[in-house]
């Protein structure tokens, strides 16, 4: 029985019917759990041997009005199996408890997600701006952030897309040196 | 009349110094397998620096630093006989006057650079002064046997006593001459002893806040300093009989140190200081013992 099935087995009898666990592909185990179960699950997996929280990523489902947070865990003694814990948040309404006590490296991941998506992590000591100095616009990675309009307004340069599309048909003119 | 002569020699040495710097850059380039700038590049650099319109200054002492430096090194130049023929001010002072005058230049620059609130500048000066603890002693101990051998402390007499090839002091005291050559590398500030002006570590050290005309004055100071420092070495160890031999000798010695500079890495500062208390000190002490035994 492969290692990922063993992991799925363990996760299943821990979660029971609270969350679904499946194998996406070889060595990739996914678990979808409600928001309040994420931290206990992280602690559990950490004791099992998943010492490394490689990343926290966030997906913005604009149409569903949901943010999806994915915690990537990795361990050396599980023959390279990655465990991904997914959870969903209401856009701009829900906040997420911070995972700093369990995984200290979550400090910067959460700061970046806050800067790029605007999710507030309770218990995080420093949520001020991180990479974008003097940033005054809305969090830029959100789907409803209109980059072209922002660029035009801030850097005073109009959108080149139509210009390039319009030029597409005309043959290439030989520009004479003035 | 004498004043015009002195000013003439002063201008001549500045021109020769700038020429040496230009040729030095060409030689370093050739060693690195590239063409390098034209030999008159140093003149263009200094002219450009003086043509700068507006440069930053951090206070009166900061602006006067390069002026004192250039004045100090030019005074020292006048006390150095340029070979037998050149009647400069050498009748008025001997080796110790020269050794204590040569310090006014770096002191002026150190005071000026210290005024700018830039830590790079002060670290550069602290390194330059500590390095002085290394090479200055060796240079002094290297020249000692020659002066005592000729029973004089004036550089001009030392030149007079050294005739043609066989009885050069460098031949009589080869060990001290070698020690003096190593010390000269530190005095000129060429790699491996250019910690004070290390561009990568402390952004060119004391000159970090100097631009425009200040840097122009410092370039002139560097040009005259090259001739003065190598000149001392040549006068003491090879007694040039006329001014052509003098400039030829300084040129060869300077090119030797430039070649070393092109290929050598840079020591750490405490290594550089301790280096001078190793082999060079031994060489120089043997030179003195040789004098005692052979008196």
């Amino acid at each position: 029985m492969k290692m990922e099935e063993k992991v799925v087995e363990e996760l299943k009898n821990i979660l029971g019917n609270l969350g679904e666990v499946w194998i996406q592909r070889e060595k990739r185990v996914y678990a979808k759990v409600p928001k309040n179960l994420v931290l206990p699950l992280l602690a559990f997996l950490k004791d099992k041997g998943f010492h490394q929280l490689t990343a926290i990523t966030c997906v913005d489902w604009l149409k569903k009005g949901k943010f999806e947070l994915i915690y990537n865990l990795f361990s050396l003694n599980y023959e390279g199996v990655h465990v991904f814990i997914k959870t969903e948040l209401e856009r701009d309404k829900e906040t997420m408890p911070s995972a700093i006590e369990i995984f200290p490296m979550a400090f910067d991941y959460e700061r970046e997600i806050h800067e790029m998506f605007g999710i507030v992590f309770e218990g995080h000591p420093r949520l001020d701006n991180f990479i974008l100095e003097d940033w005054d616009g809305p969090p830029p990675m959100r789907k409803d952030f209109d980059t072209a309009k922002y660029v035009e307004e801030k850097y005073g340069v109009k959108d080149y897309a139509e210009e390039l599309w319009r030029r597409r048909e005309q043959p290439y003119r030989e520009e004479k040196d003035e | 009349m004498k004043i015009l002569l002195l000013l003439g020699y002063w201008i001549l040495v500045i021109i020769m110094g700038l020429l040496y710097m230009g040729i030095a850059r060409k030689v370093t380039a050739r060693i690195q397998n590239r063409y390098g700038p034209p030999f008159y590049q140093a003149f263009l650099d200094v002219l450009k620096l003086f043509s700068k319109r507006e440069t930053a200054s951090h206070g009166v002492m900061h602006s006067l630093g390069p002026v004192i430096a250039f004045a100090g090194i030019s005074t020292t130049l006048l006390f150095l006989p340029l070979g037998k023929g050149a009647p400069v001010l050498h009748f008025q002072g001997d080796l110790f006057v020269f050794l204590y005058l040569i310090v006014i230049g770096p002191l002026g620059m150190a005071l000026g650079a210290g005024e700018s609130n830039n830590p790079n500048a002060t670290i550069g000066i602290a390194r330059a002064l500590s390095l002085m603890l290394g090479y200055e002693i060796i240079l002094f101990m290297a020249t000692l046997p020659v002066f005592v051998h000729f029973k004089t402390a004036s550089i001009y007499e030392v030149i007079l006593n050294q005739g043609a090839f066989p009885n050069w002091a460098g031949i009589k005291f080869p060990l001290s001459m070698l020690g003096g050559l190593i010390a000269l590398q530190g005095l000129l500030g060429e790699k491996p002893f250019d910690q004070p002006i290390a561009p990568h570590e402390i952004a060119s050290g004391p000159t970090v806040e100097y631009g425009g005309k200040y840097l122009g004055l410092l370039q002139l100071w560097h040009a005259v300093a090259i001739i003065v420092e190598t000149g001392l070495f040549i006068d003491v160890f090879f007694g040039p009989q006329n001014i052509l031999w003098f400039f030829l000798g300084t040129f060869i010695v300077f090119m030797l140190s430039v070649v070393i500079n092109a290929v050598m890495p840079r020591f750490r500062i405490e290594q550089a200081i301790r280096f001078y208390w190793g082999v060079p000190l031994l060489l120089v002490v043997l030179g003195i013992l040789q004098y005692y035994l052979w008196r």
Partner: protein, 602 residues
């Protein structure tokens, strides 16, 4: 009764100032000014050189005589005392401080005027006592312990001196300054060492120096001006008298003694310089630099050739001038800034330009650059040592003189250059008294630098009878068999070159005044309290280069000596056990030894 009345005058003035301070501040300043004027009046009108005066004190008599040597040193002591009084105007001190201050001056003057070893001893002791009292009223640090350390060194030195005195009396029958006759060279050297010890302590030669940095650090700032510039000259006077009058034959025909004394001076100069540039406190740095410069004086005196001796005396005057101006300017800075720690100051050139100029000329003279007073002494010393022929000594001294550049730049940079801290924004220029003292010090610094002949003439008067060498100096140039140096030419060329390059500077381009924070910091924006003043570990990397040499300290040496005494005392204590049986045992043991020694011939 003329010259001695200087001491009576100083006691009177001390009392005057004592009551003046007790009553009211204005009276204190008034009484100090009266003190300055009356001492000046006394020296110019009333001093009569060359008159022998005997003062009967019951059993023995104290004899005073103002010879050329003592007059020479008296001038230095009076000058340094008056200049330190100028800076004292601005210091609030307890009334007793002023009393002891004037007493110290009076006894120092008397010591210099003494005509025989006993009077020299008595006044020397009284002077040390009053300095001890002043140190007790110190300003910073553990003043009691530091004062006691100073007193112990002076007392031990004085008791050795007494031993030497008795030996001299035993051999030559008198205690005047005359030569010792009939004693073997070894005993003569012994007597010289015993007699010279207190003076070596006073000029802080190496093994006996570690009272100096603490004493200078803790003493009140204006007193350190008099302490280092004036009182150390008493030590130089003592050595000069011993070498000039009593032990001339010994120094002439013995070859090893001059070498040893000169090497001790050289090592003091070198180690003093190294510790100076490694210390982080302005007063301690200056204390070590003073020790180092006095090391040169000892080399000059010890070498006992005509040139080196006059070089030593000249350099002691130079030491008085540039150490004086350094201590006055540092006292002014401490008066304004409140701390003497180099790491906390910086950028004061913008606020105290005159003190900066004073300190700048002080360090230029300290490192011996030609047109200033520091140069002729050093130049002559080098010439003398080379003529004598020991090249290693001259290299050691040259090495020591390089350290002068290091600690001078550290002092000037940490206090005046670099970044002006926020709290020193409203620091004003030094008060008037300090400025007058600085300017008065600068006058001899330039005058004796450009015209050393004026001073050498006075020195020539009392060194000629001993060495009968011909005059090696004219007003502005020095000439020895092997070298020649003209002071004015160096000065003139330097000034003219400065003018030429200044014109070149004016002709080209303009320059704007950049703000203090507007520095190249690789583009990073830097605000007010960005620590950009490099004064913390100024020569930190030197610790790696010098390493072992730095932890070699006299403190450890004396602690070692202390532990030896303790061990010996411990052993003897155990002998007296208080038990009769042990004493009986000792008696029998003693008898056996006696029989063995006598060998049965009883």
């Amino acid at each position: 009764m003329y010259n001695i009345s200087l001491a009576l005058l100083s006691i009177l003035l001390g009392a005057l100032v004592f009551f003046g301070t007790l009553s009211h501040k204005a009276l204190r300043i008034a009484s100090l000014v009266v003190g300055i004027l009356s001492i000046l009046a006394f020296t110019f009108l009333y001093l009569k050189p060359g008159s022998l005066e005997i003062v009967k004190l019951g059993v023995f008599a104290m004899s005073f005589n103002l010879t050329e040597v003592s007059q020479f040193f008296l001038w230095i002591i009076i000058a340094s005392f008056i200049l330190s009084l100028f800076s004292l105007l601005h210091e609030e001190r307890s009334a007793f401080f002023y009393l002891y201050y004037f007493l110290a001056f009076g006894f120092a003057a008397l010591t210099v005027m003494a005509n025989d070893l006993l009077t020299l001893y008595m006044n020397f002791e009284l002077m040390s006592l009053s300095v001890f009292a002043i140190l007790l009223l110190g300003v910073r640090g553990n003043t009691k312990e530091i004062a006691f350390k100073y007193m112990i060194y002076s007392l031990v030195g004085a008791y050795f001196y007494l031993g030497g005195l008795f030996l001299k009396f035993r051999y030559s029958g008198n205690i005047g300054f005359g030569p010792i006759v009939g004693a073997s060279t070894l005993t003569q050297i012994g007597i010289f060492v015993l007699l010279a010890l207190p003076f070596l302590v006073k000029i802080a030669t190496m093994p006996f120096h570690n009272w100096a940095p603490d004493a200078y650090y803790s003493a009140s700032d204006s007193f350190t001006v008099f302490f280092s510039a004036g009182l150390s000259k008493v030590g130089v006077y003592g050595l000069a008298i011993l070498i000039l009058k009593t032990f001339t034959e010994l120094f002439k025909n013995n070859i090893y003694l001059p070498e040893v004394v000169a090497w001790i001076g050289g090592i003091t100069a070198l180690l003093g310089g190294i510790y100076a540039f490694m210390s982080d406190d302005a007063k301690k740095l200056l204390a070590y630099s003073s020790i180092s410069q006095l090391g040169y004086v000892l080399v000059g005196l010890g070498l006992f050739t005509p040139y080196s001796f006059s070089a030593g005396i000249f350099h002691s005057v130079a030491h008085f001038v540039f150490e004086g101006v350094l201590f006055v300017t540092v006292a002014a800075v401490i008066h304004r800034v409140g701390t003497s720690d180099l790491r906390k100051m910086g950028g004061l050139i913008k606020k105290m330009p005159i003190s900066f100029i004073g300190l700048l000329f002080g360090i230029i003279a300290g490192s011996g650059i030609p047109p200033t007073v520091g140069f002729p002494g050093k130049w002559l010393l080098y010439e003398a040592i080379i003529m004598k022929g020991d090249l290693f000594l001259v290299s050691l001294i040259f090495f020591a003189s390089i350290t002068a550049f290091l600690y001078s730049y550290k002092l000037v940079h940490s206090i005046f250059l670099g970044k002006l801290h926020k709290e020193h924004r409203n620091v004003k220029e030094a008060p008037l008294g300090y400025i007058i003292a600085t300017i008065l010090f600068l006058v001899p610094l330039i005058v004796f630098g450009v015209f050393p002949g004026a001073l050498f003439e006075r020195i020539y008067t009392f060194t000629k009878p001993v060495f009968n060498h011909d005059a090696f100096f004219t007003l502005n140039s020095l000439k020895t068999q092997i070298g020649f140096a003209k002071m004015t030419v160096a000065g003139i060329t330097l000034i003219s070159m400065f003018v030429i390059s200044f014109i070149l500077y004016l002709v080209s381009g303009k320059s704007y005044r950049a703000k203090q924070e507007d520095n190249y910091t690789a583009g990073e924006w830097v605000d007010e309290d960005f620590a950009s003043h490099y004064a913390q570990e100024f020569y930190g990397f030197m610790r790696k280069a010098f390493g072992k040499l730095l932890d070699l300290s006299a403190e450890k040496f004396w602690n070692g000596v202390l532990s030896i005494f303790k061990a010996v005392a411990e052993m003897t204590r155990r002998v007296y056990t208080g038990d009769v049986r042990d004493y009986a045992l000792y008696l029998i043991f003693f008898l056996i030894v006696l029989v063995f020694l006598v060998g049965g011939r009883l």
